[in-house]
């Protein structure tokens, strides 16, 4: 499931961007260290293969529906975690740009959700542990299914957390979880079956094909930096989210208040903030920003503490002017667009 830009705030999106960029840099270095020249073209071509494989469906036994390969797990089995993470990132970049699947701000989230979990959690800790070095056996099938399910469950949970931390969707946490996790259980089983079927075929038809590509060192010995990175990322995300929540009335706090019925979330407040508690309780359910613009909004970090009383109150007048102005602005932008175009065409 790809997250869209429209549902995350810059703090969450930016943090996940940083985390993902760090992971990409780390994986790129690891890939370089393998000194396996043929890995780079292999990565690119297998990324292209994933797109092609997505066109081909198989029928899911016992149901009327069909499914296809997702990509994360099979790429990791074929290329090892580091190279696979880079390839998954590229697949998502192409999807974001060419299919508008996901978005630029959400790209970090999407890469993390769909790349990190299969490559660095599901593969080393589940697939390798269950399947060991077997291919095409019952063990390998079970390994692929369990790994795919766990990878996607974690990814789906990531989507929920990131969306909630952004506080743009009103969907309650529990409802969102109940919506996402079962769907991804089904998707995970399908992905596991597809992965196992393809790997089993290759293991049978040309077993040697499975080994040379997987030249990257085993991840288990060198998992520590990745885990440390993850820990740091968690702290940063938590920090950013709570900062956003405490300075931004529509942040995490607001949505959690919405879900739990409680206005206060302990630990996210600072002293400055406390004095505003009363006001914030109200604003959380009230228009907070409404239509009117305030200069203070441009700098969310300083705004709430300093001049809380400037938050706008709503009047019909501002609403009307907002709507009228919005429509006219839209019209103007279209006109300017046409003018530019006409000028270009005339040149």
């Amino acid at each position: 499931m790809h997250m869209a830009d429209a549902l995350i705030n810059p703090a969450v999106g930016g943090t996940m961007w940083l985390v993902t960029a760090g992971l990409i840099a780390y994986c790129a270095r690891k890939v370089k260290q393998t000194m396996n020249d043929r890995l780079v073209p292999m990565m690119g071509v297998l990324g292209a293969f994933i797109f092609a494989a997505m066109m081909i469906n198989f029928s899911i036994p016992g149901t009327g529906s069909s499914g296809h390969l997702g990509g994360g797990l099979i790429l990791t089995i074929l290329l090892g975690p580091y190279a696979a993470f880079l390839v998954i990132s590229s697949v998502l970049v192409v999807q974001a740009f060419f299919f508008a699947d996901g978005g630029l701000l959400a790209l970090g989230c999407n890469i993390f959700n769909l790349g990190f979990f299969p490559a660095f959690i599901a593969y080393p800790f589940i697939y390798r542990v269950i399947a060991r070095d077997e291919y095409g056996t019952l063990r390998a099938w079970i390994a692929a299914i369990v790994a795919a399910v766990v990878g996607l469950q974690l990814g789906a949970f990531g989507v929920v957390l990131e969306t909630k931390a952004s506080g743009i969707s009103e969907l309650p946490f529990s409802a969102f979880v109940l919506l996402m996790q079962p769907i991804h259980l089904a998707i995970g089983i399908v992905e596991g079956l597809a992965t196992a079927a393809v790997v089993a075929f290759v293991a049978h038809a040309r077993p040697e094909a499975l080994f040379p590509a997987q030249a990257v060192v085993e991840p288990r010995n060198s998992m520590r930096p990745v885990l440390i990175g993850l820990l740091i990322a968690t702290v940063i995300v938590g920090g950013a989210a709570s900062w956003f929540a405490s300075t931004h009335p529509d942040g995490l706090e607001w949505s959690i208040a919405k879900v739990s019925g409680k206005e206060e979330v302990s630990g996210t407040e600072d002293n400055l903030h406390k004095g505003l508690g009363q006001l914030q309780e109200k604003t959380a359910f009230l228009p907070d920003y409404g239509f009117k613009s305030t200069e203070t909004e441009a700098a969310p970090a300083e705004q709430t503490a300093a001049e809380p009383e400037q938050w706008p109150t709503i009047s019909a007048g501002t609403s009307v002017s907002g709507i009228v102005g919005g429509l006219i602005t839209l019209g103007l932008t279209v006109l300017i667009g046409f003018a530019l175009k006409a000028r270009r065409a005339g040149v």
Binding site: D37, G44, F51, M55, F98, A194, A213, Y289, I336, R344
Partner: protein, 268 residues
């Protein structure tokens, strides 16, 4: 993914190769501006609607300057809409607090935030699409690399793109030959699926090997070298600086509201 979508990619590729003022800008200038654009748009508070409208100027201007067919971008936006639409739809259902009224109608916060989500969705998606349509993946890749993206990553991304059509075409051919021989071609039994996709995978790997061979034959030794030619011109600085200033102004003052107030002669 159907084949139709692949034709769309081909179209995007052609657009990316045009030579217009928008295409001639340095890829980095457009990447930075697009990122600033998206961050600013997403930094608005949840109920904001009218202040977002001036931001349409940016994608519209790029579409016009880059001579991109607006209908094409619009169609792609509509295709991508369902996720934001589904998640956003919960807002009106869950948030009934009335926070504004227009004449006799009262508007709940849910509908406002929903409208805001959809506006942002259209803005961010169109910005990303116009970026790629005005830049093309190769210029974008070169730009990213010079913005400190690891070269290994950029190169395999470009390889992915280069072999996308080749491999998808191979997959499509295999599907076609299978369809000619089977009664119910739309979806396959798992075992057949495994061998079909497995074959495609083996072919892809063989392809990768041949590509590597061709690279090695021309002296490839694991290091990827590049010829850098483009440099940041004053137009690129002007582009990034000008738009960033515009975004900042539109973020600080609600331009649409101001305009409306002047024209409607009202407001508080």
């Amino acid at each position: 993914m159907g084949l139709g979508q692949w034709l769309e990619i081909g179209r995007m590729d052609e657009l990316g190769r045009l030579d217009t003022p928008a295409h001639r800008l340095d890829a980095r200038a457009k990447v930075i501006t697009t990122i600033v654009f998206i961050v600013v748009v997403m930094s608005f508070p949840r109920y904001e609607v009218s202040a977002l409208t001036p931001f349409f100027l940016y994608p519209f201007a790029l579409i016009a300057l880059g001579r991109i067919p607006p209908g094409y971008i619009l169609r792609k936006i509509l295709l991508a809409a369902p996720f934001a639409l589904v998640v956003g739809m919960f807002n009106p259902l869950l948030d009934h607090q009335v926070i504004a009224s227009v004449g006799v109608w009262s508007i709940s916060g849910g509908w406002l935030s929903f409208a805001s989500i959809m506006l942002r969705f259209v803005l961010t998606v169109s910005a990303a699409l116009t970026l790629i349509a005005c830049t093309g993946i190769y210029r974008l890749g070169a730009g990213l690399e010079r913005m400190c993206m690891p070269r290994v990553f950029v190169v395999q991304l470009l390889f992915l793109y280069r072999y996308l059509f080749v491999i998808v075409d191979e997959g499509a051919r295999m599907m076609r030959s299978l369809e000619l021989r089977s009664a119910r071609p739309s979806s396959l039994r798992l075992r057949v699926y495994g061998s079909l996709v497995g074959h495609l995978l083996l072919r892809s790997m063989a392809r990768a090997d041949r590509v590597y061979r061709a690279m090695a034959a021309r002296g490839f030794d694991g290091k990827i070298r590049a010829l850098h030619r483009a440099s940041f011109q004053w137009t690129d600085w002007a582009f990034t600086g000008g738009w960033t200033a515009f975004f900042a102004i539109a973020r600080m003052w609600n331009l649409a509201d101001a305009l409306g107030r002047i024209l409607a002669g009202g407001g508080s």
